[in-house]
């Protein structure tokens, strides 16, 4: 793996590679590949070269280097940056430049990373295919007639096409893991509260979490080392006393002995045959490595999608209320009264899916419906959390597919939003419970499309989660498969 985070950092630190060279090499690839893939909303070559120059200066003067020295990283366009716009792929924020950097952006820069661009996404992170972007179409590098997944589709596509060494995404209901699965890369959603959300444009505040999309499990650990930890600006971000941040790369290569893997049999029914086979194959491999399968039930799993679409949309309806054309963002030139500033600006600048979710959420919170929808959804959420707690009493981790199919074609599901929502069944429950999960490549279907394996562990056990993932990665070659476009 020549261009992984780890190898770039090592070569830059040892003086074998100039940071500037690394950046230029990636921009050369971007120039070639990006026109077909469309992963980026903004390319930041100028600032990237400035950041690279700083790293090279540090090396020249012998100053200590950060853990991401010279590593070209892309970030999802819902992470606020003072350089380049932060659009959330919405016409509402098409020209919006944030007055501050998100916590994770500060962390990346402090670690001497180089930020090459801001990636495409479903508008305000609402979607599972990046088709809901209000600004651009992103294709799956494995087959450009197919979606990259979403909502962090741009980040996953950029890493899969090796247009950057790694990327950051955000995951509210699977938005890191599902595109990582569709694009054949590693996607990690940390425990809720592990990474500060300060500067992440909110969709579903109680579900959103920032995480890395990388080529390898080790790279995910390296990035998590940089972005995890307490931030006083995010009250939901846990303190160091509650959950200390370990070195996630330490012990990564040591397999877990006597690993117990929880499996829900019904999760493998009624899904794409090749996905089922690949997961079963993976489970057999783990057994060969000494793991034991523990059949369990997740009795409330089937209500996860319904609960999610009440909670996430309720929070979204409130979070997105601020995009009203008054203080910043798009303002309709046709607005006559101040009420019209609201209604016309929002009508003209927000996409159909965003409007649909705002309406769903507004309805769920309305007086007379609150108890039947929002309150009930919170109860379901608790039951799902309990399902996970019980599972982790019996096993170290839970394994299941990331999604029931591999990447689908553009337009295949847009006509039926409910079908699109239901495809998120395996990722959504994880966000409701707040637990960490990773998606790793575990096969290719007959059409040469990547299949993802999802591993879930108990809160704040990312170290173990990554070790379990690394066991599989070490014994297979799926992570080194690349789409032709990237070769």
């Amino acid at each position: 793996m020549e261009w992984t985070v780890r190898s770039i950092r090592d070569r830059v630190a040892s003086g074998k590679l100039q940071s500037r060279e690394a950046v230029e090499r990636f921009f050369a690839r971007i120039e070639k590949i990006e026109p077909q893939v469309g992963a980026f909303l903004t390319l930041l070559k100028e600032t990237a070269l400035e950041q690279a120059a700083k790293v090279d200066e540090k090396i020249a003067s012998g100053r200590p280097l950060g853990p991401l020295a010279g590593v070209p990283v892309a970030v999802k366009d819902n992470l606020c940056t003072t350089f380049g716009p932060t659009t959330c792929a919405s016409r509402m924020l098409e020209n919006f430049i944030s007055p501050y950097n998100a916590h994770v952006i500060e962390k990346l820069l402090a670690a001497d990373a180089v930020i090459v661009g801001k990636t495409n996404m479903d508008e305000f992170a609402m979607g599972s295919s990046t088709e809901n972007s209000g600004l651009k179409k992103t294709c799956n590098p494995w087959d450009i007639s197919r979606v990259p997944g979403g909502s962090s589709g741009g980040s996953a596509a950029a890493v899969a096409a090796r247009m950057c060494a790694a990327a950051l995404g955000s995951d509210t209901g699977g938005s890191i893991r599902q595109p990582a699965g569709f694009c054949g890369v590693v996607g990690l959603k940390p425990t809720y509260g592990r990474v500060s959300r300060y500067g992440l444009v909110a969709y579903g505040s109680s579900l959103d979490q920032i995480g890395p999309i990388t080529q390898t499990v080790e790279d995910a650990a390296v990035l998590l080392n940089v972005i995890a930890g307490h931030d006083p600006r995010d009250s939901t971000c846990v303190s160091e006393q509650t959950a200390p941040v370990p070195d996630y790369t330490a012990g990564l290569e040591t397999p877990l002995e006597g690993l117990r893997i929880a499996v829900v049999e019904s999760f493998l029914e009624g899904i794409q045959a090749e996905v089922q086979q690949a997961i079963e194959e993976a489970l057999r491999l783990y057994q060969k490595l000494g793991a034991r399968l523990v059949p369990i039930q997740m009795p409330h799993f089937e209500y996860a999608v319904s609960a999610y679409y009440v909670i996430a949309t309720a929070e979204a309806s409130s979070n997105l209320a601020r995009y009203d054309g008054v203080h910043y963002g798009y303002r309709s030139p046709r607005a006559g009264s101040y009420i019209e500033v609201y209604s016309k600006s929002r009508d003209e600048a927000l996409g159909a899916e965003v409007k649909r979710r705002i309406m769903l959420g507004t309805f769920a919170l309305s007086s007379g419906y609150y108890d039947a929808y929002y309150l009930k959804a919170l109860k379901v959420r608790n039951l799902i959390r309990n399902d996970f707690t019980r599972a982790f009493e019996q096993a170290d981790c839970l394994m299941m597919p990331v999604s029931p199919t591999t990447a689908f074609r553009f337009g295949e599901k847009t006509a039926d939003p409910l079908q699109m929502y239901l495809a998120d069944i395996y990722t959504i429950a994880v966000n409701l419970a707040g637990v960490p999960a990773v998606s790793i490549p575990c096969g290719l279907d007959r059409q040469n499309l990547p299949i993802g394996l999802q591993i879930v562990t108990a809160p704040f056990t990312e170290s173990m989660l990554l070790r379990i993932a690394r066991m599989f990665e070490k014994s297979t070659q799926w992570h080194s498969c690349m789409p032709d476009i990237a070769k």
Partner: protein
């Protein structure tokens, strides 16, 4: 047919807390700064920002709720209240819905005639303030967000007040409490307190009671406007009832504003809009838990409440209600007074010195009484010196003033400024004898106990003190003079 009505008023009060920074960000609180100069990404609702609770504001809210005898919630949370308005940058306000910091308390207010009355408090909760829309810019409305995110305490009473004067007394007592606790400056000019009374009448006609529709008067920011608007509303509602016979029903609550110039209420909304604020728990903030120890610690900071202290000053120190009220308007003054009296000084004398000189100078220098250079120890000494006749009351005021401004010891200053009165009885006796010899008419008036006796005695006193150049101790003069005159009465 006899007909009488009772005014029924409940109050909703917003109090600005005197914290250094805003409720959920680090911005300094602002009064009168240029528009939009006390703002940051958080309080102007930029994408991606998150609120962080101001712990001091929370403690201030708990203290106030405690002072209002509320049940304090050991577990509270924040909720979002949604409505669209340009001065509300996020289009939701972070507030508290079903778990307010305090509930079911009461405030004791002074009544005319010396008694007190309890007004029940329904709830006390904390929220963030909105900004300010500025409309007088010719065709445009501008928004100033300096105030957006300022910590705001909302206090809601039960409809327990029955006269404009009572509502005013409640508002003034609340102001005294928050100032006493130091949780708010309670500066009415700066809009630190806003009142919204809900008013209606219970009209007794025949054997029946008719309730008039409730009106809410919005945004009153002076005691005067509060009192006047309620009196006006009572009158207006009675007239309206006579005319229309309309009574209280669901949904016929009206909203009025107050015209300070015309001194009339002005209808703003005919029917109460069916507001759906879509409250739900704020996911960006964690619930707040108060442990028993934390509650205890806050209780220990509460101290004596102003009305309690006022009553104690009246009973324990024999002060009149007015004096006790002046002393307990501010905690610093009250405590200064109390400490001085505890050092053995005579309460009335300390009260006079503090209220007539201390408060005047403090006001002049814009400081609290305890920030003057006068200490309770020096004041006690000064009061005792006055008591013992070492200095006259007028001199004591002068000495107080000098110490307040420059510091120093009362005795040393009295000596230095030659303000010590003579108590040498031999010397005073000589002066008395001289005056008796010089003023036979006045002496006669006293001895014969004529109508002018009292006046004549005062005159003789004055003559002696004048002869001493103001140095003679009036107490001793009086004793000697009295004895000599008595001797003349009964030879």
């Amino acid at each position: 047919m006899s007909e009488s009505y009772k005014i029924v008023v409940g109050l909703e009060i917003h109090v600005h807390l005197a914290t250094r920074s805003k409720m959920f960000c680090g911005c300094e609180l602002s009064y009168g700064q240029p528009p939009n100069t006390r703002v940051c990404p958080v309080c102007i609702g930029m994408p991606g920002v998150l609120p962080v609770m101001n712990r001091t504001a929370f403690e201030y809210a708990v203290l106030t709720a405690m002072a209002l005898h509320c049940q304090i919630a050991s577990f509270t949370k924040w909720d979002r209240k949604s409505y669209y308005y340009p001065d509300l940058p996020k289009n939701y306000q972070i507030s508290q819905y079903d778990l307010p910091i305090g509930r079911d308390g009461y405030i004791e207010i002074p009544e005319e005639g010396g008694g007190t009355k309890k007004i029940r408090i329904r709830r006390v909760h904390l929220e963030e303030d909105a900004g300010k829309n500025i409309h007088d810019l010719g065709g445009y409305t501008a928004v100033d967000l300096n105030r957006a995110g300022a910590p705001l305490l909302e206090i809601v009473t039960e409809p327990d007040m029955n006269s404009p004067a009572e509502v005013r007394a409640m508002a003034e007592e609340l102001r005294r409490i928050v100032r006493f606790l130091g949780v708010s400056e309670g500066d009415m000019q700066k809009g630190h307190m806003r009142f919204e009374p809900n008013v209606n009448l219970h009209i007794r006609r025949g054997g029946q009671v008719f309730k008039t529709p409730i009106t809410e008067v919005k945004n009153l920011n002076s005691f005067r406007a509060l009192e006047k608007s309620i009196a006006y509303e009572a009158h207006r509602q009675y007239e309206e009832f006579l005319e229309t016979g309309q009574t209280l029903q669901m949904g016929n609550k009206k909203t009025f504003g107050w015209d300070d110039v015309q001194e009339v209420t002005v209808l703003q909304r005919e029917k109460e809009e069916a507001h759906d604020y879509r409250y739900f728990p704020e996911p960006d903030l964690v619930p707040v838990r108060l442990t028993a120890e934390q509650i205890k610690e806050l209780e220990s900071r509460l101290g004596e409440l102003p009305l309690q202290m006022q009553k104690r000053f009246e009973t324990q120190y024999g002060l009149i209600a007015y004096d006790a009220g002046v002393l307990t308007a501010e905690r610093a003054t009250a405590e200064f007074f109390d400490r001085t009296v505890r050092l053995g000084a005579e309460p009335k004398r300390v009260c006079n010195l503090l209220t007539q000189v201390g408060l005047k100078i403090a006001n002049e220098l814009s400081v609290r009484v305890d920030q003057l250079r006068m200490t309770p120890e020096s004041l006690a000494k000064l009061a005792k010196m006055t008591e013992e006749g070492l200095v006259s009351a007028t001199s004591a005021n002068q000495i107080f003033e000098q110490i307040a401004r420059e510091g120093g010891d009362p005795e040393a200053i009295a000596k230095e400024r030659n303000l010590i009165q003579s108590s040498d009885s031999g010397q005073i006796e000589a002066l008395v004898d001289a005056v008796i010899a010089e003023q036979p008419q006045a002496v006669q008036d006293v001895v014969q106990e004529s109508k002018k006796a009292k006046k004549a005695l005062g005159f003789l006193m004055g003559q002696v003190i004048q002869k001493s150049g103001g140095q003679a101790n009036p107490k001793i003069v009086s004793q000697i003079l009295q004895a000599k005159l008595d001797a003349l009465k009964n030879p």
